[in-house]
């Protein structure tokens, strides 16, 4: 709830921090935006734990949106987060038997943007969960080899040493096999 002139810059800073996975940014996000959203949920038959869950999911929606790289903030971050939380909470409520009448106070634009972001989030989550599952099924040491090579950009010689292969070519072969297996598992699902 920053009320200074640099509102927008501040929001952008947080967004940037989130894109790079900065803990400080997450903390700020909590401090600034959690209380309002928690209040909204508590006022609508929610518990404190539910508020926490909803807020975490909201942040994940934001993260997915930001990591797509094409996110531009049309309104204040607070408004965006609030709209998303509201949507998520509504969904959770209507999943149960309880009735909840959506009020028309929030503008259509905001709720549309929120809806879109949530849909994207659900898709990404499904997709990436599949990858995570595949990685889990793949098991060690394949998982670590692939992570080291593709994510941490480790050189083949390093990997060779770390896993005790006799020469980098062997490691290369192993890595290739692992990748093929992962692809097989991933696409099978």
């Amino acid at each position: 709830m920053s009320k200074e002139k640099s509102d927008i810059n501040f929001d952008l800073e947080i967004l940037h921090g989130i894109a790079t996975g900065n803990n400080l940014a997450i903390r700020k996000l909590y401090k600034l935006h959690f209380p309002a959203i928690a209040k909204m949920i508590l006022n609508n038959q929610g518990s404190r734990e539910e508020a926490q869950d909803i807020f975490q999911e909201t942040v994940m929606v934001l993260y997915d949106k930001v990591s797509q790289g094409n996110f531009t903030l049309n309104s204040k971050l607070q408004t965006f987060l609030y709209a998303i939380s509201k949507r998520l909470w509504l969904k959770q409520l209507t999943r149960g038997a309880s009735k909840y009448h959506q009020d028309q106070i929030d503008s259509l634009e905001d709720s549309l943007a929120a809806e879109e972001a949530i849909e994207e989030h659900v898709l990404t989550e499904a997709n990436l969960n599949q990858m995570e599952d595949a990685l889990l099924t793949l098991g060690e040491p394949c998982k670590t080899i692939l992570q080291d090579f593709y994510i941490k950009n480790a050189s083949m010689t390093d990997i060779c040493e770390k896993f005790g292969y006799t020469n980098p070519d062997n490691a290369k072969n192993q890595k290739y096999k692992c990748l093929q297996r992962l692809k097989k598992i991933f696409f099978k699902k």
């Binding site: 807020f55 990404t124 990858m131 090579f149 593709y150």
Partner: protein, 364 residues
């Protein structure tokens, strides 16, 4: 280069993606891809797969960071709150104690000032049984004398009870009814009629709930009387009915008359009437008769602080009590009279006929 294996191609692609190739080689790779659509497709698939792998990892680590931050945040929040409350409590403890003390004092003093307690006491004890403490002073003196006499003999020194009340016959052969509260704790019970003849009576049956006691005159000098002039009315009587009683609030019979004022007794007791007859201690156990000379009730008590609110036990309760007496405690059947000899008489004649059947009950 056309027969390049998939593995080699992937290695090449990885090198290209990781920027390990020289400028020349990069160009060659790009050219190769543009010339071989199959490999180009393979390459793009590989790229998207790797990117989704990277994304998964980044997302997972973000999620973890989020969870950790959230944990920290909630902990900080929950730790902070009780501390605040405790601090508040510590600083306000004294104020709270003082406020509570003042509240308590003011509540009770207000209650006391407005007479709440005296009202409470009154309502819980405003029923008084109408037995008469006789000759209190004399009794005390007698008790002292007895005490002095007994001082050497080791007898029990319970104080003699001495009460007076009223009772009336229910059969001609010596059954008399009075109130239970009259004869509680009695050593002996004597009945005395208006001529001054006194007989010893024994308690046949008591019913504390209905406040009734059935006595029988056991004295050998007692002779059966003529048939009772009155009958017992089993049905409830109506409000406003003209009624009267004869009792012994003093050693002479006293006549009182009034009307039936309510169909229920003290605190809604359905086995009693409220009657409006001036009664006094000693009237207990006296019969309540209607204008035709039917016994409709037995005087039992009155309510303190309310004028003219006396209570009489209904005849129905008496009949129920009679029916519940075990046969072996009876001395001959109780047969109630069903001939009313008072109906057509005027009140003074009724009373003359009645008097023989009403006794002063003396309890020692």
């Amino acid at each position: 280069m056309r027969d390049l294996g998939t593995q080699e191609f992937i290695e090449w692609a990885d090198s290209y993606l990781r920027d390990e190739l020289s400028r020349e080689e990069r160009l060659r790779f790009e050219e190769f891809c543009s010339q071989n659509p199959t490999y180009a497709a393979l390459f793009s698939e590989h790229v998207s797969f790797i990117s989704s792998l990277k994304q998964t990892d980044a997302r997972a680590s973000f999620k973890q960071a989020l969870a950790e931050t959230a944990q920290e945040y909630y902990q900080a929040e929950t730790v902070k709150k009780p501390a605040k409350i405790i601090r508040l409590w510590n600083s306000l403890q004294l104020n709270a104690a003082v406020a509570a003390a003042i509240a308590i004092v003011s509540v009770f003093s207000t209650l006391w000032l407005t007479g709440y307690y005296s009202n409470l006491k009154k309502t819980s004890t405003d029923y008084s049984a109408l037995r008469r403490d006789m000759n209190t002073v004399k009794r005390n003196v007698n008790a002292h004398n007895a005490e002095i006499k007994n001082i050497k003999s080791d007898k029990d020194n319970t104080e003699d009870m001495h009460f007076g009340a009223t009772g009336f016959m229910i059969t001609r052969d010596g059954y008399v009814v009075t109130n239970y509260h009259v004869i509680t704790g009695a050593d002996s019970v004597h009945l005395q009629n208006h001529k001054g003849e006194s007989y010893k009576a024994e308690i046949i049956f008591t019913n504390p709930e209905k406040d009734l006691a059935i006595l029988h005159i056991s004295d050998s000098t007692f002779k059966s009387l003529k048939n009772l002039p009155y009958t017992f009315k089993k049905q409830d009587s109506d409000l406003g009915e003209d009624i009267y009683t004869i009792g012994f609030p003093r050693d002479e019979a006293v006549y009182g008359q009034g009307y039936l004022s309510s169909a229920t007794g003290y605190a809604g007791d359905t086995l009693a009437y409220q009657i409006s007859i001036p009664v006094n201690p000693g009237n207990s156990g006296g019969p309540v008769l209607d204008k035709d000379g039917n016994v409709i009730g037995i005087i039992s008590g009155k309510q303190k602080g309310i004028d003219g609110a006396a209570f009489a036990i209904k005849t129905k309760a008496l009949l129920e009590t009679l029916n519940s007496i075990p046969v072996d405690s009876l001395k001959g059947n109780i047969v109630l009279s069903n001939r009313n000899g008072l109906t057509n008489l005027n009140r003074t004649d009724q009373i003359k006929r009645l008097q023989d059947y009403i006794y002063i009950v003396k309890v020692y």
